[in-house]
Symmetry: C2
Subunit: 344 residues, 2 copies
């Protein structure tokens, strides 16, 4: 029997991750080459000696990028970064990207050339081949589909679900900068609309702008971990926000977590700008997203070894299942971590 | 120096294939695992013993599908077919699909459930695993990104560029049905808008409707070819239209071609409906597209062997480079084949 419109469930009731779970929860994989299907950074496919990792992303104009303040070249660069980041997050090496582009008639060839310049530059910087693609018409705006393919040796694979209680929670880089960069660009855009002569004032905030427009992946840190023989028990790239991505790892691994307020790395520019905007810098740091840093866990025994890696910060540890997800203050206070997009 | 707006090249000047060539023509692949990048049905990646094939497609609402006459379940089914068809076209076997979905708030959960029902059914029918995916918000309408992954033994790989002069040009199935199905759905939609009571009259045209809404891939014919040890010299799946896809093969292989008007297989329903619409049935057969049949070439020596395969028709042969692309009538007349989307 057809349900009436008001009986039909709205998508918002589920939340993004709930919706994916609802729609794909019953799906069983059957091919013996499918090692891991839905639920990690990439699909994992057995290809003999090594594993093949495949991941795909959609970037939609007006949702994932705004062409008013995103130069085409940066957009192309970031599209590649976004896709290959998922391969690195499984401790793999990306080898190829494939781009499917949907464009409306408002775009001209020069803009697409710039887009491909950015794509090519990212491919060059990360030793990745642009191995295919398609261009199709769209009714409105631009859609970019990016698929990345990579490989990893079977023993090197790091998944999201391998964290254990007492593991150290580690991060590369700093958080919230990309989000604050976006707020700044958005503010200057609004000022420009109001008063067509004001030139955007971005001086002193070059770092946050760069983090938003041209993010990079902490590849050298990942290499250092390999060199020091530190194999993470779990890993995820921070794109949805530190809180949301940490909860992903906890829920998939069946652990709780306790991290320290004062240990979450935040850049000076991020804090300063957050102050200007009258927001607590922890808000963008925890929920901003698009940081393209790695969040990973290592066994407690590695505490001395991990300290050697300058570019890694330990923000504290995993706890047992059922002990909750907490953010602790230096004064002993504890706040439960929640994340946008999660609804259960 | 910035070019003025009217100096900037419009996308239409290039045409779709010209644009892809223009933007990606200078791209060189560097990874030793990248066997073939842009230009074939799938990217080809060396994964040791076998080759991994990866292909990605974007389906945009209003361009690739119209939800007024496309049930969600069929849309999901067709999205999978579209992606895995590219793997079959390289003589490979698809193993996994990954779906990235962009949806606006106008959709409800039941619609998405139906979409995933169709996706699951196609996966089941073709022994493919849904191995990953993401759902994201969109401002308007629905966008579906489908990535398919497959494998092929190195010796079995069939590319688009392997046809030679005198090779027989073969096709599976029949052509133009999907296009005529779409015309019929479109006509009934318009009648319905004009006069809200008219029920769509689709009786007698079940085949063309099914070809449009729920296409299938000629897998049994591909298996028969393998069984009979007929290895095509080139192959492509017919999605852009028989003429356009034949030209792809010719241009990549460096051959001309000569096919016979009377040999192109067209179903009775397609001809009958074309007559109703007052169009020559060869127009949808050559330029309609979305047939999901295979076009392939085999050496002339196989002429007797290929005749055994009932589901394959020889529509004639490849010629030497520079001898043009011709469609011959039984009366000795010859027409040059042109295709939508080609511009050089």
């Amino acid at each position: 029997m057809e349900k009436s419109e008001n009986q039909k469930k709205s998508i918002n009731e589920f939340g993004k991750f709930g919706l994916i779970k609802h729609l794909t929860g019953n799906i069983v994989t059957g091919n013996k080459t499918t090692i891991k299907g839905i639920g990690d950074d990439s699909a994992i496919i057995d290809s003999g000696k090594n594993l093949t990792l495949v991941t795909t992303d959609l970037l939609l104009e007006g949702i994932h990028f705004n062409l008013i303040y995103t130069p085409m070249k940066h957009l192309g660069y970031k599209a590649v970064i976004r896709a290959i980041s998922d391969i690195y997050a499984m401790n793999g090496t990306p080898g190829q990207v494939i781009i499917a582009l949907g464009i409306s008639s408002k775009f001209n060839v020069e803009q697409l050339e710039e887009l491909y310049e950015g794509i090519s530059l990212a491919c060059k910087n990360y030793n990745v081949d642009l191995a295919g693609g398609d261009i199709t018409s769209s009714l409105t705006g631009m859609t970019i589909g990016v698929t990345a393919v990579g490989t990893v040796e079977k023993n090197d694979l790091v998944r999201r679900d391998g964290a254990r209680p007492n593991d150290l929670v580690c991060v590369t880089g700093d958080f919230g900068a990309s989000f604050m960069g976006l707020q700044l660009l958005e503010r200057e855009r609004k000022l420009f609309i109001k008063d067509k002569v004001t030139q955007p004032d971005l001086s002193g905030y070059e770092y946050v702008i760069e983090r938003q427009l041209k993010p990079e992946i902490p590849v050298s840190t990942l290499k250092e971990l390999k060199k020091e023989e530190i194999q993470p028990t779990s890993m995820i790239d921070v794109t949805d926000g530190l809180a949301s991505d940490l909860l992903h790892v906890c829920k998939l691994s069946g652990t709780g977590c306790r991290i320290f307020y004062s240990k979450v790395p935040i850049d000076y520019e991020t804090s300063k700008l957050a102050e200007e905007f009258n927001i607590d810098p922890m808000v963008p740091a925890l929920n901003g997203g698009e940081d393209y840093e790695m969040l990973f866990t290592v066994p407690l025994e590695m505490v001395e070894k991990i300290k050697i890696i300058q570019s890694v910060k330990v923000i504290d540890h995993m706890t047992t299942s059922g002990s909750g997800y907490y953010l602790a203050g230096d004064d002993g206070s504890e706040v439960e971590i929640s994340a946008q997009g999660w609804k259960e």
